[in-house]
């Protein structure tokens, strides 16, 4: 009989190996899925994972998309990972992302058509504050009243979506848009446009922010006492209290960071790749970022890689939709499966399999 036995300490090898194994298993099962859907599995896998970067035909268009898609995913996932490390489950990043976009865009549009260089920084701050404020709702309810942050932060996603629908066709609607919902297009307003910094790379300010966030999070979590306290709170809450960590501060800090980063991501997206605040500009990055955070082992460097991989599946998925007629939802399932396999293979980090004779368990 197979039996799991707890390792004396987490295995370093498996910490690194399990995401790779999960990716491999997802490709295998995904391939079978694609075969069922009537596509050649090898071609499908190649289209998703290889062609976006290396195909001569598509890579000119798809390669820059990699950073465009990975930027917000990484930025949000970095924030989430800090909270997850502390055992604080903010799963409403999508709502904070939307609120960041609305606040950032709104702050800019209030000064339309100013061409001051301060417009973009102002929008950035407003976006971060918008996401931060939205995350403070579950944070304050949790610390003051002990309300479950998972459910509150998630409910607020739906609330944010109704606000988005309302402002896109009301407050922020483009006055020159002939009544169509959606804000002014930022592409036509240089001072507020989050433009591509180096042509052909997809690099915009949001991607720069994501890289900075990766480095800052790495320093915070591995060198700074606050990062230590965050980890401690997640691993042993009683020991954290004993060490003198104030749990309220950790909740406020973690939700605040993740909210602000998600808000910034939303603002970068609305003023850059999306170009405007519209009813459905949000593409579910806030939820996919949860997968990115776990796939990256809640480790900043891991998240960087996981974000790029996940961006690849987005782009590859679109390509597969185009070229092989695979349904777009298949990619969503593909991403969900990836998280599932990761959680399954993760068991080997803390446990090892042993063959034992049957015993009363």
């Amino acid at each position: 009989m197979l039996r799991l036995e707890k390792r004396p300490q987490p295995s370093r090898e498996w910490t690194a190996l399990s995401p790779l194994l999960a990716v491999a298993l997802t490709m295998l099962v995904g391939g079978i899925l694609f075969a069922i859907l009537g596509a050649n599995p090898f071609e499908a896998i190649r289209t998703i994972f290889w062609d976006p970067i290396f195909s001569e035909q598509f890579s000119g268009f798809t390669r820059p998309q990699l950073l465009v898609k990975a930027g917000p995913l990484i930025l949000i996932a970095i924030g989430l990972s800090i909270g997850f490390k502390a055992g604080i489950w903010n799963i409403g990043a999508e709502g904070q992302y939307i609120m960041g976009a609305i606040c950032g865009a709104g702050a800019g549009l209030a000064f339309y058509p100013s061409d001051s260089v301060l417009i973009f920084p102002l929008m950035l701050i407003a976006g971060a504050l918008g996401g931060w404020a939205w995350a403070m709702i579950p944070a304050i309810l949790k610390t003051k009243l002990g309300t479950n942050e998972i459910l509150v932060s998630l409910m607020l996603v739906y609330v944010a979506e109704t606000i988005l629908a309302s402002v896109a066709s009301g407050l922020l609607r483009n006055p020159d848009g002939m009544g169509f919902p959606g804000s002014r297009n930022f592409k036509e307003w240089d001072a507020a446009f989050n433009s591509e910094l180096i042509t052909g790379t997809g690099m915009h300010w949001g991607v720069v922010a994501a890289f900075i966030a990766v480095i800052a999070a790495y320093v915070l979590m591995s060198r700074h006492i606050q990062g230590f306290n965050i980890r401690l709170t997640g691993e042993a809450p009683r020991a954290a209290r004993f060490a003198g960590v104030n749990p309220t501060r950790i909740v406020i800090l973690c939700l605040g960071i993740s909210g602000a980063l998600a808000g910034m991501a939303g603002m970068f997206e609305a003023t850059g790749p999306a170009g405007q605040v519209s009813i459905d500009f949000n593409a579910g990055y806030g939820f996919t970022a949860i997968i990115v955070a776990f796939l990256g082992r809640l480790n900043p460097i891991g998240i960087l890689l996981a974000g790029l991989l996940m961006a690849l599946t987005y782009i590859g998925g679109e390509l597969a939709q185009l070229m092989l007629g695979l349904p777009g939802a298949a990619i969503q399932l593909f991403q969900g499966m990836l998280l599932f396999f990761l959680l399954a293979t993760d068991v080997f980090t803390n446990y090892r399999l042993r063959l034992t004779k049957k015993e009363a368990v």
């Binding site: 309810l141 479950n148 509150v152 409910m155 739906y158 109704t162 349904p327 969503q332 969900g336």
Partner: protein, 307 residues
Amino acid sequence: MDLSSISPVLLVASIMVSATPILFAAIGELVVEKSGVLNLGVEGMMITGAVVGFAVAVNTESPLVGFVAAAVAGAVLSLAFGFLTQHLLSNQVATGLGLTLAGLGLSALIGKPYEGMKSPTLPKLDLGPLSDIPGVGKMVFSHDIMVYVSILLVAAVWAFLKFTRGGLILRAVGESHDSAHALGYKVVRVRMIAILFGGACAGLGGAYLSLVRVPQWTEGMTAGAGWIALAIVVFASWRPWRILIGAYLFGGVTVLQLNLQAAGAKVPVALLSASPYLITILVLVIISARGAHGAPASLGRVFHASN
């Protein structure tokens, strides 16, 4: 605005219909949580149930077969959750989230060909003289069978937990898995059964949404109903009859806001659309301010019989 356009009889009747999906999902999750497991995948299991139920009902032209298929689909999905959390000891929060994300993707994939179709729907039961009672008959006794099944299910869960040995063991496992293990009870097996039951219930709830309430398939149609079901379990302090109250309350809010929108009430539409979610938050806040009552002590904790 014109409130007279809202008929109280139809209002109550539609509240019962709109509460039923959440009621199914919540009573299932209650059993899961009573066994000490937190499954955040309710939304994913619901929407999978919705699409599978719809697809099977369309293909077999039997809504009842659709419901059975939805229950099976929900249970199969929950089996994956159970295997990961109970056998591979994965984090329940993360796994539940994963289940929801995977369920949303899976349902969108399965549902593509069925978008815009109409399914056969359940007939209203004819309860004879009861249905003929003026007012009340139309309000309470003119529904399809699943409305009554959901209420019976609440009663059955209540009786099971309160009066049977199986219910006692389930509560014991949720209260302290170490004690239950020490007394020789099969913690993992009890929990797996509870998880499967919860999955089947969520599947039924989803199918009710796509086969009766709406009734058609649209991507992402559960729109947070699974999460509201989770909140209702907290609201109900883990007591079966309060689940019924909670579900009907939320059904009421949903129906009322739709009616108010239709009646052209002078309240911003955004606020009305957001009201079910805002009220969920409000209820959670009130419950938590009173202090958590009745949460099973082992809820969400990983059980590993180390020696």
